[in-house]
C-alpha cells in the first residue's frame, strides 16, 4: 500500500479513536498505538511517536475550552507537573532501552487497568479538614457550581506526587497521556473534586507529553508521514466528540469502548509474549 492509499485509512481510524476517546473520557491516545501496531503493522516505536503528538493536540485543544470554565486548579497542576515531567523524561529514556515486546506487554497491562478504571463510579468526597502540606502549598481552592463557588481542601500530597511521577513515567514509556492514572492520583489520593481532577489532568497531559516529545523526536520515533494523518484525525475526532458529548448517553458507549480497550490489551500482551511485536 502506498502513502496515498494508507493516509486516508490512518486518518479515519484515528478520527474514530479520537471521537470515542472524547465521548467516553478515556482519551483517544490510548488506543492509537495498539491500533497502529496491531491493525496497520506499524513498528511500536513509530506508533508511540504518532500517539504522543496526537495526545498533545487533543489535550491542548480541550484545555482551551476547559480553562475558561474555571475548574482547572493551576497550582495543583503546576506543582504535580514537576513530578510528571521528570517521570516522563525518565520513562521516555527507559523506552529507548527496552525491547519492543516488553513495551507491548506493559502497554497491555496499562490498557487493561484503564478499561477497568473507566467502569469505576465517581466518588463523592466528604468535606475534609485542611491539610498541613496542602495549606503550605496553597493548593486549596474553589470551583463553580450551580449553587455558587464551592471551596475544597486537598490532602495526601506526598502520595499524589509519587503517583504523578508514576503517571509521568508511563506516559513517557508508552507515548500515552496517562490521564486515567492522573485522575486517580488527584481524585483518590488527594481528594480533589472530580471535575477539577479531570480538567487539571487534561492540562497536565499536554505538558507531560511535551516533556516526552523532546526525547521521542531526537530518537527518531516521530515520523512525519505517519504522525500527520494520526494527529489530524485524533484532533478532529476529539473536537467532534466534545461537541456531541452533552447530547449522548455515554454509559453504554463507555462499556463498549472499555470492551474494545480490553480486547486490544489482551492482543498487545499476547503479541508481546509471543514476540510478534
Amino acid at each position: 500500500m502506498n502513502y496515498l492509499e494508507l493516509t486516508p485509512l490512518l486518518w479515519l481510524g484515528s478520527l474514530v479513536a479520537g471521537l470515542l476517546g472524547a465521548m467516553t473520557g478515556l482519551g483517544g491516545g490510548i488506543v492509537i498505538t495498539p491500533l497502529l501496531a496491531l491493525a496497520f503493522k506499524v513498528d511500536i516505536h513509530y506508533a508511540m511517536g504518532a500517539s504522543l503528538v496526537s495526545v498533545i493536540a487533543t489535550s491542548s485543544g480541550a484545555a482551551a475550552a476547559y480553562v475558561k470554565e474555571g475548574f482547572t486548579n493551576m497550582r495543583i497542576g503546576m506543582f504535580l507537573e514537576i513530578a510528571t515531567t521528570v517521570g516522563a523524561v525518565a520513562g521516555a529514556t527507559l523506552a529507548t532501552h527496552l525491547p519492543a515486546s516488553q513495551i507491548a506487554i506493559i502497554f497491555g497491562v496499562v490498557l487493561l487497568y484503564s478499561a477497568y478504571a473507566s467502569t469505576r463510579k465517581i466518588s463523592a468526597h466528604a468535606k475534609a479538614p485542611a491539610d498541613r502540606i496542602a495549606t503550605r502549598l496553597r493548593l486549596d481552592s474553589q470551583y463553580p457550581t450551580t449553587a455558587g463557588p464551592q471551596s475544597y481542601h486537598v490532602r495526601g500530597v506526598p502520595l499524589g506526587f509519587g503517583l504523578m511521577f508514576g503517571a509521568g513515567t508511563l506516559s513517557g514509556l508508552l507515548g500515552i497521556g496517562s490521564g486515567a492514572m492522573k485522575v486517580i492520583a488527584m481524585d483518590q489520593a488527594m481528594h480533589v473534586p472530580f471535575k477539577v481532577s479531570t480538567t487539571t489532568s487534561n492540562f497536565m497531559i499536554g505538558v507531560t507529553a511535551a516533556a516526552s516529545a523532546g526525547v521521542y523526536l531526537q530518537r527518531g520515533y516521530i515520523d512525519p508521514g505517519l504522525a500527520m494523518p494520526v494527529m489530524l484525525g485524533v484532533l478532529q475526532g476529539s473536537l467532534i466528540g466534545a461537541r456531541v458529548l452533552p447530547k449522548t448517553r455515554t454509559a453504554k458507549l463507555r462499556l463498549l469502548f472499555g470492551a474494545v480497550v480490553a480486547v486490544l490489551a489482551v492482543e498487545m500482551i499476547y503479541h508481546g509474549i509471543t514476540g510478534r511485536i
Partner: protein, 129 residues
C-alpha cells in the same frame, strides 16, 4: 488584599491561556495539513516502511534540521515543523504561567513553574546539558 481585583486578573489570565492554546493547536494543525498535502502530491505513490524501526533521518530529529528542511519547502519537513509548533504550545503555556505567577507575586509557584520549564527545555534540547 483586594480579592475581587485578583479574581478579575485571574480570569483575564485564563482567557489569554485559552486563546494561546487554541492558536497553537490551530497553527500546528494547519502547518501539518499543508505539509501533508505537499508530501502526498510529491511522494504519494511511494511505499512506506513502518513495519521496521530504523529511526528518522537527522533532518527530522533536531530542531535545526527541521527548520533547515522546512525552509526548502520539503513536505515532510513542514509536517515536522507543525509538530514542533504543537510540542511548543504547552511549553509556551508553562512559560506564560511563570509570568502569571510573578504578576501575582507568588514566589513559590514561580519557582515550581521554572523547574517544570527547565525540565521541558532540557528534554527538547536533547537530554543533554
Amino acid at each position: 488584599m483586594d480579592d475581587s481585583a485578583n479574581r478579575w486578573s485571574e480570569q483575564r489570565i485564563e482567557t489569554i491561556v485559552a486563546n494561546l492554546l487554541r492558536a497553537g493547536v490551530v497553527l500546528a494543525a494547519s502547518v501539518v495539513a499543508f505539509g501533508g498535502i505537499l508530501f502526498l502530491i510529491r511522494h504519494g505513490r511511494e511505499i512506506p516502511h513502518y513495519g521496521t524501526f530504523t529511526g528518522e533521518p537527522e533532518q527530522f530529529r533536531s530542531i535545526r534540521g527541521i527548520f533547515g528542511g522546512a525552509a526548502s519547502l520539503q513536505g515532510r519537513n513542514i509536517i515536522q515543523l507543525g509538530l514542533l509548533v504543537l510540542i511548543a504550545t504547552p511549553v509556551a503555556r508553562v512559560a506564560f504561567s511563570v509570568v502569571a505567577f510573578a504578576l501575582g507575586r507568588d514566589r513559590m509557584y514561580v519557582c515550581f513553574t521554572l523547574v517544570v520549564l527547565a525540565v521541558l527545555i532540557f528534554s527538547l534540547a536533547g537530554g543533554r546539558v
